[in-house]
Each structure stands twice: as C-alpha cells, then as structure tokens.
Point group: C2
Chain length 493, copies 2
Amino acid sequence: MRKITPRRENLDFAFYFLGVVYLALGLVMLGLEVLSLLLGETPWGFLVGSVLGIGLGLLFRRLGDARSEPSRAEALFSLALIWLLVPLLGAVPFWVSGGMHYLDALFEAMSGFTTTGATALADFGSWGYGLFLWRSLIQWFGGVGILVLLASVLSHLAIAGRQLFMAESTGVQKEPFTPRLRVAAQSVLKVYVVLTVACAVCYALAGMPLFEAVCNALTTLPAAGFSPNPQSFAAYSPLAQWFGTLFMFLAGTNFVLQYQLFLRREPLPIVRNIEFRVYTLVVLVFSLGLAAFLMTHHQEDMNYSWSEALRHAFFNVTSLITTTGYASADFALWAPAAQAILVLAMFVGGCSGSGAGGVKVIRWLVIGALARRELLRALQPQAVLTLRVGSKVLSEDVMRSVAGFITLYVVLFGASTVALTLLENDYVLGLTASAQAIGNVGPGLGEIGPMGSFANLQPFSKLILIFEMWAGRIELIPVFLLLTPELWRRLRS
Amino acid sequence: MRKITPRRENLDFAFYFLGVVYLALGLVMLGLEVLSLLLGETPWGFLVGSVLGIGLGLLFRRLGDARSEPSRAEALFSLALIWLLVPLLGAVPFWVSGGMHYLDALFEAMSGFTTTGATALADFGSWGYGLFLWRSLIQWFGGVGILVLLASVLSHLAIAGRQLFMAESTGVQKEPFTPRLRVAAQSVLKVYVVLTVACAVCYALAGMPLFEAVCNALTTLPAAGFSPNPQSFAAYSPLAQWFGTLFMFLAGTNFVLQYQLFLRREPLPIVRNIEFRVYTLVVLVFSLGLAAFLMTHHQEDMNYSWSEALRHAFFNVTSLITTTGYASADFALWAPAAQAILVLAMFVGGCSGSGAGGVKVIRWLVIGALARRELLRALQPQAVLTLRVGSKVLSEDVMRSVAGFITLYVVLFGASTVALTLLENDYVLGLTASAQAIGNVGPGLGEIGPMGSFANLQPFSKLILIFEMWAGRIELIPVFLLLTPELWRRLRS
Ligand SMILES: [K+]
Ligand SMILES: [K+]
C-alpha cells in the first residue's frame, strides 16, 4: 500500500476541493437535522453526518490549497476520489437513521450522487420526511456537480470526446482552474434553479402532494429518478405524468442550450443543434413504436386505451432515454417485446451536457460517422475522408477518444453483466442491473424493476453495481486510470 | 431497379467465379444423386439442383472472364453476391427432397455455407444419408471457401483489420488475382484434407458410426457444427467427445500456423503466436471456471462427477469459443450462470485465419490496446503512443479498421437482437439467436438450444437470421457496402 500512496503535495487541489464539498454537505445535514427535529422526527444520522462532514471538511481544506493548479493526473485522480468519498459521507444518515446496513446505505448514496436512482430501500413506510428530502437533495447536488465538472474540468481535459461536446459552449476554457469552476457553477445553477422551481410548481398544480412535488422536481432535472413514492409516477395523475415527460425531456438536453433558450431567449441554437434533433427524433420514434405495440398487444390486466398507451409510452421511453428511471407503470410486467424497446432506450442516453447517463446521442453519431468512413475506406483505402457530425468536422482525436470510451463502456458493461448473472443466477437481472448501473439509469427488469428494489441482491453484486455507477458517472476514464501504474507514477513524481 | 443494376462489363470476374462455383456444386449434387440412388433413396432434389447448378454455372462462366482483374468495388460486391447466391442453389435439395419450405431450406443452406450450424430441421428421422451428407459437405465447402478468400481476397483488400492477420503468412499477396486464389486454395486444402481425415479416423476409433464420423469430421474442421445426430455429441462416447474437443480446438486456430505445424513440422510459430497463446488461455480459464461451477452447483438430473464436469466444460466452452456449436450436453437446461459463461465464449470467437466466426481473439487484443492507449492519452494528450499486440506494432489503419468492424458488429447484433425479441417476444431467444447468427455459432439458448430447432420461428425472424449469418461470415463490410450509394456508383462507372 505504502508504495502507491501519492505524496500529499501533489494533491493540494484534491484536498481543498474535497474539504469544501464535505463542509457544504455537513452544513446541509445540520440544516436537515434541525428541520427533522422541528417536524418531530429524530433522525440522528444527520447529526452524525454533519459532525463528520464539518470536521473532516475543515481538516481537508486545511491540508489542501485553493490556489494550486492541478496537473492532469491530479485532476483526474481527484474526480475519481471525490465521487467515491462524497457518497461514503452521504451514506451516513441512511445508515444511522434509515435502518440500513452500511453497504446498502452506500449503495443508496452512490445511486443518489451519481443520479442513478436505483434503490436498496424496500420499506418506504419506515422513513420520515428528512431522509426522503436528503435522498432527493443528493441527486440534485450530484446532477449539478457533474454538469459543473463537465463544463469546467472534463471538457478541459478533453477525455472521452468531451472536447467536442462542450468546447464552443461555455467560453470559460482559457481561465485558470478555480475561476473556471466558479463560472461554470454559476451558469449551471441559474438554469437548474429556474427549471427545478418551474417543475415543482407544475407537479403541484397537477395534484401532486407538495412534499412529493419538491422531491420529484429535485430528482427530475438531474435525470436522477429517486421518488419518495414507492409507486414512482404511477401514483400520480395523467397530467402530472405528462409534466414529468416534459421535464425529463428537458433534463436530457444540453444545459448550455437550455441556458440560451430559457435565460437568453434564443431558441435557434437548440433547434439547429444536430444532437438535439436526433434526440427528439429518437424519443418520437421509440415512443410511437412502443405505443403502437402497447395498443395492439393487450395482456391480462393491461388493456390500454390509445391515450393511456401514448402516455405510458412517452413517459417511460423518455424516462429511460434520459436515464431518469421514473416509471408511470410497472414496465417490468410488460411483454418482453415492449421491454426490449425500453432497454434499447437505456443505451441511447440523452444529450451531452445534460445530467443524463448512458453513452449519449452525440457519441452514437460520432460512432456512426466512424463506421461509415471505415466502410468507404474499404472501397478506396487511400482516400482522405473527413468525418462530420451535422456540419461539424470531427478531429481524429475526438474520434479516437469516443472509440476508446465506447470500448471501455462495453468492456465494463459486459464483464459486470457476466459477473452479476453468475452471482444472481438470472440473466435478465444481470443484464439490466449492469446496463442501468453503468448508464446511471435506476430501474432494471424483473425483481429490480421500477417498483422493485435492489435490497435482496448479494453483497458482492451490490459492490459491482456501486463500482459501475461510480465509473459510469465520471465517464469511466478516471476510474480505469486508477488501475494503471502510469497514473500512480505521475502522482508520485 | 434498372437504375442500380451494375453494367455487366464490370462484373466479369464475379460472373466467372460464380459460374465455376455453381458448376462445381452441380457436379457434387449429381454425384450425390447417383450415390443416393445406389443406396436406394430417391432424393430428386439433387437432380434438380445439379441441373440448375450445371446449367447456370455454364451460363455464368460464359458471361464472365477469368482473366479480368476485379476492382476493389467488384471484388467486395462479388464476395457478397456469391455468399448469397450459393446458398440459394444449395437450398434446392432440402426444399425438393427434405420436406422443407423454401425459406427453411434457404435457412439451412445459409447456415451450412456460412458454417453456422443453426438448423431449421425438426424431424431428423425423415432424411436419408444423401441429405445429411450434403448438409455436412456444404459446411466443409463453406469453411474451405472462406479461408481461401481470407487468404487471398480479404487480406489483400485489407478490410476489417485483415491486413494484420494474414499479411505475413501466405506470401501470395503480390500475385495477380486468379493465381493468388489458386495458391491459397492449394495450401488451405492440404491442411483441411489431412485434418479432416485424421478427425474422421479418431471419431470412428472412439466408437462413432462410420457415416456419422465422416459427417461430423466434415463439420468439425470448419468449426461448423451440423451433426446428423439430433443429440449432437451427447450421443457419443466420452472419448469421442474429447476427440471433438481436440479437433474443435484445432479448428479455432490459424490455418497458416496449422500448415506450419502439421505439414512443415515447425512447432515454434504456433507456440510463439500471441493470438494462439491468448486463445489457449481463454479456453483453459473458461473451461476450468465452468467445470468448477458445474461441480459445485448440482441441479436435479445433473450431478456431474469431476471427470464429467471437466469433459462437458471443455467440450462446450471449446465448441462455443470456436463457434462450432456442437453440444455434449443440453446446456440450454443448465443454470443461467453456467450459460452466461458459454454466451460470453460465443463473442470471443477463435483465432483469425480459422473457420471460426465471432469477433476473434486478435481483434479483442487490438481493441484492448486501443482502449489502453486512450486511457493513457487522458494523462498525456500530446504523447505519441505506439499500439502493440504482442511484439507487433499496430498501424493506425489496422486500429481504425478494427474499431469500424466492431462498431458494425455491435450495430447489427444490437438491431437484430431488438428485432428478434420483438418478433418472438422472448429476450433470451432474441439475444442468443442474434449472437449465434452474426458469430456463425449455431445453437442459442431456450427453444433454439443445442437440442432444439429454429423451425418454429416467425418467417421474418428467419430472414433476419439469414441476413446476420451471411453478413457475419464475410466480415460484414461487403454486405453493409451494398447499402451505400458509393458502391453502386463505382460499379456503374
Ligand atoms: K437515473
Ligand atoms: K458454427
């Protein structure tokens, strides 16, 4: 162990940043402790969490240094470290007050901060308002956090093709590190606060109880998917479900385009964006296809009228394409053919620069362009063929990054699927658990369906899923780098 | 239609080559007709087939020209065309004499010539020796045919990374087209005749009935998998099963290395070959892992002793890694965990330069090297990092070709899986039918397991599978190119 421990002076930035985040979470937990006491609940987990958060936060902040400019290795290492250490702290209230083993609490917290929304909670009745609010808040923090990092760190580091997706959009790339983070955070927060409030108001107007409207709005905008209601959106009115579809659809679009649309009132950029167009088309095609199937293949207990079929098709397709993971009906009970459309949707994964997980539309477009070029090179090997997505010319670097990313995605997805199938002795569970975790989706099929729970899985399965959620959320590269000696060598030198 | 019909003068080579192949198949069918009559069977399908084959063969040969040197577009087009038109003729005996609809007969013939081994035959008792011998022979022809083309056309055209896999090995690349084909055919035939005879002798010595020993030997060496016995290798002695494992293992190795080993008695090239080493390692690890699972997870009716567990594990892992598709036990009845290992094996797919389908070991090695390089580029974007597989440096061209190939593979596999799941309303069937067809494996799981049949699938499902088998066997590129306007433009110009 000692040999690979990084020397501290290289991690000034990581420590400072972790300290700030721990301190902030500690203060939020303190607030929730007060709120819970006012409501007559006694969730001491928040007190334990806030003491740990504030104490460790102050310590880490002192160990670090705000002014240090991190190296690439340190920035990538910090990203992996923070997305692991934050859930370790965030799990404390679930562990101390939520009646969960620490592993389940960590599963819940990792699922929260990564905006996955897979739950290890089986008995929703045993939790008070405080715990459900915390469970929603960490998803909102996680969603805002990943977007801030996408806009500042990840696009700057140009990993996984990110240079393409965000570069032109924020204009903050040339500034030093800490200001860049601050500018990115401000623009993300502006968009997300506005949309979250609008979403909560719409939900409440559609008849959702106020507390659930707030919690659900907090988890809709980051495409996150935890709901305080064990029936998810099946518990709400058709109008609330249509609002859910609308806001999930927005949650799956690039926040820079949202910023231009809602705050600057410029509708052209989003309408002209090739990724947005393809995303909209995919949602329409999948939803109408699913609706047609649901209307023509009646099953026992499930005779949808055309308006029900359309509503459930649009809601659940949008939910899975954006990797939100809400459900307006228990699709784990649908016919396999209908489920196949939903599983396919999971792999699409919304637009870049959104809280959505999965591979994302733009990467599929790049991969499509790459495959087409290789086809044409078979006809004409010496030709110099330019790769385009829409009107934009792709560099070789972007193409290679995307191909590398997809490869890592397939490798981690495949290995986890096999491991989970072996551990749980169930294909559908193994395949969909793995697909939802790496894509930060939430529900799978079978016992882990939208009305089910991950509580009864083997401990080792839960560890695999925690790993997939963690790696999937931060674009895989930082986590895979932890397995290379090169990273540790650079951190030491 | 008329607009896209290629002008004939550009297809001199295609017509000539197709004519020769049709003529040869017509003569073989004539021989089988005579043999069948001598055995007292009356399979008039061979007569119809031989008349069609000889007649059309003579016609096509006259329309073509042996001396013409095909362009890249023509060579790729011819490859796709021939691998479609040959099964159309080969289906005739199954259709006229085998009691099958033409679609089922075409499924059987495509499954044969592509060395897949998936069967649409449900009632094995209704067929005579002639039909079973034809069913085995077309697999042997298909296996020899694909290797000849790999060694001559495909490696010359440098598609799908083939330039890497065969270039150094045959030394025939610089010659003109027709002699190159002839040299390649001679060396492939030398290896395959020797190994097929040896295999048949071993099978017979292990107690297999002589006719079945011959048929099974014909389908073992091309990793093809049709057996005249509906119980596949479960019908034979343990020794015959071990011989099967040995010859399937050989069938999954590069024929150039086999040539060096068996005909030149040079064992070093195969032992030093990185792909062979990894292939051997994968077979060992998967087989021992599966054996351990089978010994520790007893199920009703399936209490394997350690020697049985080892035998079934090695046999079925080797069968699926090499994409042969025989079974020594009905693994469709095993626990999902055991099946997961076998499905994973399907995607590995033997060594390049063998009759095995699937992605193949060398491409996984290239993809692994590519992913590793992209990881390291995240740390150090400006670094020039050389890709290696073993001690061999990979060119950017090879890397791009392999990435393009894998992308097409995933796209066709994914789209077919969803379509088949929708049509058959069954995941496991959809997933494994699609995986086996594109990888030219043979059996899937569930009703299409090793003791099952594809006979009861929907007609449209069979068409999808025929397409996947066809495209998968000829490295996808030639078939996908048919969908591009660029190919047709070149053929016309
Ligand atoms: K989610
Ligand atoms: K096969």
